[in-house]
């Protein structure tokens, strides 16, 4: 009917077509209500006949409406059992018909069906629903070459939702869907279309929500490949979604290769991506981002010391690529995570003689030294000083006198050369005094050197009252209450 008649009568024709459409729709509806139409009759007689009519009418508006109608009025169990027949009709429809919407609707209906009635899940397996849908979508995308990316991705989102509901344990199916999506996206540059981007974010978020454990999502080999097609800012958004999922579910990620995979996904937050400008982002947002990464570091843990050391090295490798803006946020987290490991190693009973144990406090202190040194490029002397002092205390507890002394030396260098602000100096010198007061590992010479240096600096603070306070605090350095400490009344 659409092809007949001149243009000015188009509106009148349109109205007539709509009325006809409603009429046919009503008929279908009535048909579905007839009690005698059971599954077999539907399968053998009703559906093939209807589909024949639909295909033959060659009217794209009608075809769309009628397919939609069929899916709506007949029960989901019927659709499941006639899937092959139903899907085979699609390629026969007119090229302009919005097949993807109809397909998506069908998948969504069946997804809901699976979600509400889990007892029918075996049926899905029996009719090989996933394979059929996969193929159908593949064929549709192939046939409609001009389909915009957003359309294809929407289809994959529907298929993924379907897969996650019907076959949640089949990670390979999920990966397959992602893989098909990658194939469709390949050849394009990074996505600019915001609707398509939104759909990809939905695509990637679905497995995270379904499997509250991010580690499962990390096993999907095509996941990072899909992410590669997002533009820089969306990659960051997605990375934050991933981190939030980890924090919400307090997922602990415990091996270094999973962490590698994770850091690959969140690389947009860890370092500057190619082409990204350094000051692209709002200050507040940047801080929030980096604080998220800092928090994430605390979720990376393994009780096994060797593995934990590997984890620390992996994290260090990645965050050191972050550049001066990111280091002040990420370095402290790594440092404290490492210090926790040092403490656990301390608590261990004795060394097994002859065995080469890779994870030793000394090794970790080396890593710590490297990491804190990186802060000099920011520069962040006050933070670095505090971290050196923390390490010194930890080294003290591990009986590593030279290491502790080295950390103090570094702290003093920072104090002498980098910390010029008088208020900062006051705080810094008190921290040095407080830390040094607790050191019990230094021999007389070392202790004397450090004490004299500290007292000297205290006396040189800017204002007299501050000098006094610092110097009397230093008095504690000359008298220790430890049982085996030095009680030198003369001093």
């Amino acid at each position: 009917m659409q092809h007949q008649g001149p243009v000015r009568e188009k509106e009148k024709r349109g109205k007539e077509r709509n009325e006809l459409r409603d009429l046919v729709g009503k008929n279908l509806h009535v048909l579905s209500q007839i009690e005698g139409v059971d599954l077999d009759m539907y399968k053998e007689t009703v559906l093939p006949r209807i589909l024949e009519q639909v295909v033959n009418c060659k009217d794209d508006l009608a075809q769309f409406y009628l397919m939609d109608c069929i899916i709506q009025v007949f029960p989901d169990e019927y659709h499941l059992q006639t899937l092959e027949t139903l899907l085979s009709a699609f390629p026969q429809l007119q090229p302009n018909v919005d097949i993807k919407t109809v397909l998506s609707q069908l998948m969504d209906r069946l997804s809901s069906y699976a979600a509400t009635s889990p007892e029918v899940l075996p049926e899905f397996l029996q009719v090989e629903a996933f394979a059929k849908f996969s193929n159908a979508i593949g064929k549709v995308i192939e046939a409609q070459v001009d389909m915009p990316v957003v359309g294809a991705v929407t289809l994959y989102v529907s298929l993924l939702t379907f897969t996650l509901r019907v076959h949640p344990d089949r990670l390979d199916y999920v990966d397959q869907v992602l893989g098909a999506c990658v194939k469709k996206l390949s050849g394009n540059a990074k996505l600019q279309d915001s609707r398509a981007t939104k759909q990809i974010v939905a695509l990637l978020s679905a497995p995270l929500e379904k499997y509250s454990n991010v580690v499962t999502a990390l096993e999907l080999s095509n996941y990072p490949r899909v992410m590669d097609y997002l533009d820089n800012s969306t990659t960051k958004v997605m990375a934050l979604v991933i981190i939030q999922s980890i924090m919400k579910n307090t997922t602990c990620i415990s091996t270094s290769d999973k962490i590698e995979a994770l850091f690959d996904l969140i690389k947009g937050l860890i370092k500057n991506m190619d082409g990204a400008q350094d000051d692209e982002l709002d200050d507040e947002d940047f801080k929030e981002e980096q604080n998220s990464v800092a928090r994430l570091i605390h979720m990376l843990h393994n009780d096994d010391h060797e593995e934990m050391l590997k984890i620390l090295c992996t994290v260090q490798k990645h965050i050191l690529q972050g550049g001066p803006k990111r280091l002040p946020f990420t370095v402290p987290s790594l440092v404290f995570s490492a210090l926790k490991l040092v403490r656990r190693l301390q608590g261990q009973d004795g060394d097994v003689i002859g065995e080469e144990v890779p994870a030793t406090p000394k090794k970790i202190f080396q890593i710590l030294h490297q990491t804190i040194e990186a802060l000099s490029c920011v520069p962040s002397p006050e933070l670095a000083l505090r971290l050196y002092l923390q390490c010194a205390e930890a080294a003290n507890d591990c009986d590593l006198e030279p290491v502790a002394y080295e950390f103090f030396t570094q702290a003093f260098i920072l104090y002498e050369e980098e910390i010029a602000d008088s208020k900062a100096q006051i705080t810094a010198i008190h921290l040095i005094i407080g830390t040094l007061q607790r050191m019990n590992i230094f021999g007389v010479e070392n202790r004397d050197t450090l004490t004299h240096k500290t007292t000297g600096y205290s006396a040189k603070l800017l204002k007299k009252p501050d000098q006094c306070r610092a110097v009397y605090a230093c008095s504690h350095l000359f008298w220790t209450d430890d049982q085996d400490g030095i009680m030198d009344g003369e001093r």
């Binding site: 801080k287 404290f336 210090l339 403490r343 005094i433 007061q437 605090a473 504690h476």
Partner: protein, 189 residues
């Protein structure tokens, strides 16, 4: 009955990801009249969170705090009590009772709340009370090993203050309480 929440040394995000979930579910907005925080939050997000629990928020500066504008010490009067607040890294030796008592006399307060050692402490000392609410997140401390997350809730009622300490030990919240009464000798002119 005035409820004052005392907590500090959260060290978010440097040493801890967040407050323990069990604490978060207990700390509901609208129940507490004042919050005093010893410092080392360390970031604005934590400040905003505490502010959402109670608008009357007092914070002193810890050595890792992002916001440099917090004061080194603070005093405030709640009911019949004068409270003093300081992070504690400024008082050497760290955690030393006599040195803290010096600070208490200097600030001229009945109750001194400090942190830094991440270890809960509450005792009477020389006519006053010294409280350390510990670390609310159980953050690593060079001073204290095996830190359990803890915070303190003070119930100030006339001349009496009941100090409730909440500690998270092996996944369970344990509560303890200590009573202090302000005697005539403590009353300042």
């Amino acid at each position: 009955m005035v409820l004052v929440l005392a907590l500090g040394d959260l060290h978010v995000p440097h040493r801890a990801a967040d407050l323990p979930a069990k604490f978060k579910s207990m700390l509901v907005p609208g129940k507490i009249q004042h919050i005093i925080c010893t410092g080392n939050l360390c970031v604005k997000e934590v400040h905003d969170y505490l502010k959402s629990l109670c608008p009357d928020l007092h914070i002193t500066r810890g050595e890792y705090d992002e916001d440099a504008r917090y004061p080194e010490t603070k005093t405030l009067t709640i009911g019949q009590f004068k409270l003093g607040l300081c992070h504690g890294h400024q008082v050497v030796p760290w955690g030393d009772l006599d040195s803290l008592a010096m600070l208490q006399r200097q600030l001229d307060v009945d109750i001194l709340v400090t942190g830094h050692t991440h270890q809960f402490k509450a005792y009477k000392h020389e006519g006053g009370v010294v409280i350390n609410p510990g670390s609310a997140t159980g953050a690593y401390s060079s001073v204290t090993y095996d830190v359990n997350p803890s915070f303190v809730l003070m119930d100030i009622d006339g001349l009496r203050v009941v100090v409730y300490v909440y500690e998270l030990i092996d996944g369970e919240v344990k509560v303890d309480k200590i009573d202090f009464k302000k005697t005539a000798t403590m009353l300042h002119s």
